[in-house]
Symmetry: C2
Subunit: 316 residues, 2 copies
């Protein structure tokens, strides 16, 4: 019998990425095409199906080897039924993505949200390979998350599990309101947006920092300044690390994962950031819940989405 393959699709607002994985999560082939969001729902759906066919056609595999197609997409989803209830960046509403693709492609299709899928990718074939229980953070514009227990995504009753950016972790006295409407969310301090906000506040306050010379402050500027010894920038990065570490201490007594995996743009700060997170985690976590627990960087980068989407077929 020929080798089974798993197709993963990562649907973004600009591009649709597709990948072929083997049973071990090795990414064997990739493909990318435009989403063509502006052309509307029918075109987007057609493109997803077409690119899935294309990647297999241009690979050395036959369509008959496809065990299933997994799709990761941003938005509010009805995961069991594979329905996209609403996706802001794709401008689609109430679309039965699973139903459409299963009819078009005649294979099993599973749909899940992009943050969960990226977490599954890392857990299956990235930094968490071989580990059954892990919690993944993505530090980007916001703080995304995904929880893998027993090798599978924890979705939650309404698909809201793993919304780690909205853990209320900042004490009331220093909390600000998050985009979600609640106070003190992790995302308000530990995302790129949070870091930029704190830096701009410092500059406006007149703090003595090299950041005053930066025109349009990005999170990387703050991290670079902190690494170069700027005390104000260092304090900001420490604060981002502090609340990440504290949120992990919470996770440790709730889920006691074997591994925390951190990806996303801010995670490129590397051990400068990670060592601070590890220190806070060690300080605030009960001994038994931190023994042997690792805090590591994601390894799949932008491929986490397609790999995890392919993994949906094996890990659901």
């Amino acid at each position: 019998m020929s080798e089974k393959i798993y197709v993963g699709v990562d649907v973004g607002g600009t591009a649709i990425k597709v990948g072929i994985c083997n049973v071990d999560g090795d990414l064997l082939h990739t493909y990318e095409g435009p989403t063509e969001t502006s052309k509307g729902t029918d075109t987007i759906l057609h493109n997803i199906a077409q690119y899935a066919r294309n990647i297999v056609a241009e690979s050395s595999f036959e369509w008959e080897q496809v065990e299933g197609v997994g799709v990761g997409i941003a938005g509010f989803l009805d995961i069991p039924n594979g329905i996209v209830k609403f996706s802001g960046n794709l401008k689609i509403e109430n679309v039965n993505l699973k139903g459409y693709l299963e009819k078009e492609l005649q294979v099993k299709v599973l749909v899940n949200n992009d943050a969960n899928v990226a977490a599954l990718g890392e857990a299956w074939a990235g930094a968490g390979k071989g580990i059954d229980n892990c919690v993944c953070y993505t530090l980007g514009t916001g703080v995304g998350g995904g929880i893998i227990i027993g090798g599978k995504i924890v979705e939650g009753f309404a698909g809201m599990a793993g919304e780690l950016g909205h853990i209320a972790i900042v004490p009331d006295l220093e909390a600000i309101q998050c985009g979600c409407g609640k106070m003190g969310c992790l995302e308000s301090v530990s995302s790129a947006t949070g870091i930029i906000r704190m830096a701009k506040d410092a500059v406006e306050r007149g703090d003595r920092t090299t950041l005053t010379q930066v025109e349009n402050i990005m999170a990387k500027d703050v991290i670079d300044a902190a690494k170069a010894g700027d005390e104000v920038a260092a304090r900001i990065v420490s604060r981002a690390a502090y609340y990440l570490g504290k949120s992990m201490a919470l996770m440790a007594v709730v889920l006691n994962p074997e591994c925390f995996i951190i990806g996303g743009g801010v995670s490129k700060a590397g051990d400068f950031l990670f060592d601070q997170i590890r220190e806070v985690f060690a300080k605030y976590t009960q001994k038994e819940a931190q023994e042997g627990v690792k805090i590591v960087a994601a390894t799949l980068g932008n491929n986490a989405g397609v790999v995890g989407a392919a993994g949906l077929i094996l890990r659901s």
Copy 2:
């Protein structure tokens, strides 16, 4: 073929409770005998095996119908191997409980900690019947917990998952040190011990409360006084409820369970307590993560342990 039965054993410091359940978690027969902790490890082990045999012998079932025996026990466990590494109240250390019982009883044996097992009981056949994902709190001397995802106990890397009493939830300014050594644990305010401590503090401070007339304040006294309109007592119960509700708001964005189940002595305060918890949960939880989510009282009482232990055989 005759009906399969599942035997659950709840090993306490004083008594060993045993139950027979059917495949639906209905408790068909119960049995109880002394643990005889003072006679040492061999006697305790012998008693567990003997009582399991006894309950089947005195029931209308045959031993051949026993699909397996589950055991719930307090202590540090190596759950996969069924080893009790240390149990303070039984005074046993490094005992291969699973190995012993499988040899003695010639059926599949699974061992798990008492809080997880009670949670599984409620999730399987109690307040969470029919619900796949729930988070259980036991409000007793401490605050215990158990997390059920996909119908199964979440154990964690070192068996430390579900230690909800040690969620750091009280802000530093009003936090006290917990028995575990960390600051601000939920258990320090929302357990019977925490409620009693806050009441004694109030009396010592000279607060105007009817509790000054109670000789040896118990949690029930505080709850009764609060219900009767004592403002100081009401403030204490509200504080216990507040941090429970806040911890559930955290759980909601991490796991998004369908149901929170609350048991243990303090939960007998009923809706007086529950309504306050629900109000805090509603206030601090993102809309999507609270829609349709229930906060309910445990229904199995002291039987949760034996039912959940029996459930280990079906839900592992």
